[in-house]
Symmetry: C2
Subunit: 403 residues, 2 copies
């Protein structure tokens, strides 16, 4: 159940086939510099792979080089589009009293991302921290500002009013942040589930409001599906569930896709794509694997299976969360993208250690969250293998902390 | 002769073998998340591959994810080391009159890179422009400043005094830039040959002085060998020719190595390498190819061959540069890393177009430079194929512009 990056388990026959395909052999042996030399059928291949599963309303795809850069490349794209369309008047912040270099005073565009109020305790930095704003020339700068992601209370039914208010508060922070920036805001980045901040969820209403706010203010909405995408929440893209009236401007992908990049709407079409390609090339070596993943998901109906397995796992976790309520808090999830919070970081680490000692590959996030990230081949029989080991660990934790 | 990224020509048997090896098959099918799950023999593999050709005085290697990021990752490493060692006192630039956000005012560290005075005319941005300084947190910022790279006059023998003065001027710009920065300078990045700025060369004295200046001021010297490395200038690393008393702090590699990363000295050892790995993982898929490249260079004595081919090519280009002196200016090079300047950008583009129409894969840089970047298997017989086509093109250009 490692990360989000194993789509079909280990040594899946279709992935082995992709590894040994002629396309892969050629790409490996004569790695093309994609910004200069495209193969003749490259566009056709992109269509047959990524565009067969494009999120509604997108129509275009751009591939990036590694599993960690699609958000950065997407942000770069929004800068370019802003610069080209001169959507914003240039802001002149220079005053006689200004200190610092020209670069420090002039910030051409800025970004907004989410940050958890309680994050920071984990060894791995949060997703939001990872976004590296781009600062290309000596006389321009881009800045990233952070707004809080909603902290919902569970069970949701008991806290309907509180949670609505919490989401409203966060939305109003977003509005204030956009309006209070020195420089125009090019884009807002949001994950359907705020993963590294501790698998935080928000309501569909929250996301629909985010779309409305950003659209009204000319801010591009980037939906970061690098972890939630490719079937793992029960729909191919997690944001399909929001019921948006108008689509996001950009949807990024990575991990389970085995290659990375982003989908985008026509508004973001850039005349000279070389401006991005120059710096970030695509990953032709793994294209055959991406195709194998999307084809296998369809052939084996893995979205259905993921939903089914998720429901089955939840139906067993729920009674456990009552029986072991001191350890399993705020149980939540969608598909097999399930998580719960431990009372402390110490107990989180102890649970993870004991699970791993029992052969369960599982990881934590935020300050005290434990998260499930199985591959799409994860089925009821695997749940049945997992459950007795999990109960054993929960019992051991109770013996240790509440004897 | 595409880019610097084809090490051994197309479909080299050793690279085909690497593509079909079991290591590659496993890495392709079950791509590891290297920051979490390292294979048991990963360190051994790094030793057997990169450390067999490490630049003198380094001792350590770190691999990065793509062909374009080693410089960025290296810069990030220097930030971390600076932060950890608290080598510099924190600078406090806040004043009552300050405008802009906190991030705009506080720049914790800065970098220096070279920029050509005449660059900017080319479609591809210059190397120096490509360096994206990292700006991780809301309250810190890193800035990159540019200093001019020497513009030597040719033939070198005729302009000895002028060229010495030009280099002195650039070195004094570096000194002034380091001392004039608001924030401490973490690193200076330099290429042994300033590639995208138009294949500009400088003397060994110039580089030795750069090392002295940076060392005296506690600035890390990053030698960017992403284009010049791996045998293409006749020595395995281009900076071997400088005769440095103390080594660079970091040497980056990419392109012909088929994977990317950097070598570094013990001073740059970072306690928790996860801080970088978290963001940038290595490229296990191409490790077997890197090994095939370094092994084949040694087995087939390709450094010697590269020197020999370079001398042979030069011995034919020199008389051509006399006969067609209006087109071939400032002929220069090392190994097969050879280039010349055209009188205008228009003629540069015309020469490139005609060469490509004749089946010669060749590229330009700077405003008017044409550069040779053959693979290491390029031999005298290939030069013999190239020369008559080149003469044909030169003749056509003369007919067109000076009939």
């Amino acid at each position: 159940m490692q990360g989000s990056s194993i789509p079909l388990g280990y040594n899946h026959p279709e992935l082995l086939k992709a590894s040994q395909s002629e396309d892969t052999l050629i790409a490996l042996t004569n790695t093309p510099t994609l910004d200069i030399t495209l193969s003749k059928d490259w566009c056709k291949k992109l269509e047959n792979t990524y565009l067969t599963v494009e999120p509604k309303g997108m129509g275009n795809v751009f591939t990036s080089a590694t599993g960690v850069d699609p958000n950065e490349v997407a942000l770069r794209a929004t800068i370019l589009v802003h610069e080209k369309s001169r959507r914003f008047k240039s802001s002149n912040l220079e005053t006689e009293n200004a200190v610092g270099s020209k670069a420090q005073r002039n910030s051409k565009v800025s970004f907004i991302s989410f940050k958890s109020e309680v994050s920071g305790g984990n060894a791995s930095s949060t997703k939001a921290d990872d976004i590296v704003p781009l600062q290309k020339e000596n006389d321009s700068a881009t800045l990233c500002s952070f707004v809080p992601f909603p902290e919902l209370k569970y069970p949701l039914d008991n806290y309907e009013t509180e949670n609505k208010n919490e989401e409203k508060l966060c939305l109003s922070s977003v509005e204030k942040m956009i309006e209070g920036q020195f420089s125009p805001v090019a884009a807002l980045v949001v994950e359907p589930i705020f993963c590294e901040g501790g698998d935080k969820h928000a309501s569909n209403d929250f996301f629909r409001e985010l779309r409305r706010i950003t659209k009204e203010r000319g801010v591009f909405l980037i939906v970061d599906e690098t972890q939630t995408g490719v079937g793992t929440t029960g729909t191919f893209w997690a944001h399909e569930k929001w019921g948006l009236e108008s689509p996001p401007d950009i949807v990024t992908f990575s991990s389970k896709m085995q290659s990375s990049g982003f989908y985008f709407t026509d508004e973001l079409k850039i005349a000279q794509s070389h401006e991005i390609l120059n710096k970030w090339s695509a990953e032709p070596i793994k294209l055959a694997h991406s195709k194998a993943v999307v084809d296998t998901i369809q052939r084996d109906d893995l979205l259905q299976q993921n939903m089914r397995t998720g429901r089955y796992l939840m139906s067993h976790l729920r009674p456990l969360s009552v029986r072991y309520h001191r350890v399993i808090r705020n149980l939540r999830g969608s598909g097999t993208f399930i998580s719960f919070d431990c009372p402390t970081r110490e107990i989180q680490q102890r649970v993870l250690f004991l699970l791993r000692s029992n052969g369960i590959m599982i990881d934590g996030s935020g300050t005290s969250t434990i998260r499930f990230r199985p591959s799409l081949t994860f089925a009821n029989k695997h749940v049945n293998e997992f459950l007795p080991k999990f109960e054993l660990v929960l019992g051991a934790i109770y013996d240790e902390y509440w004897p």
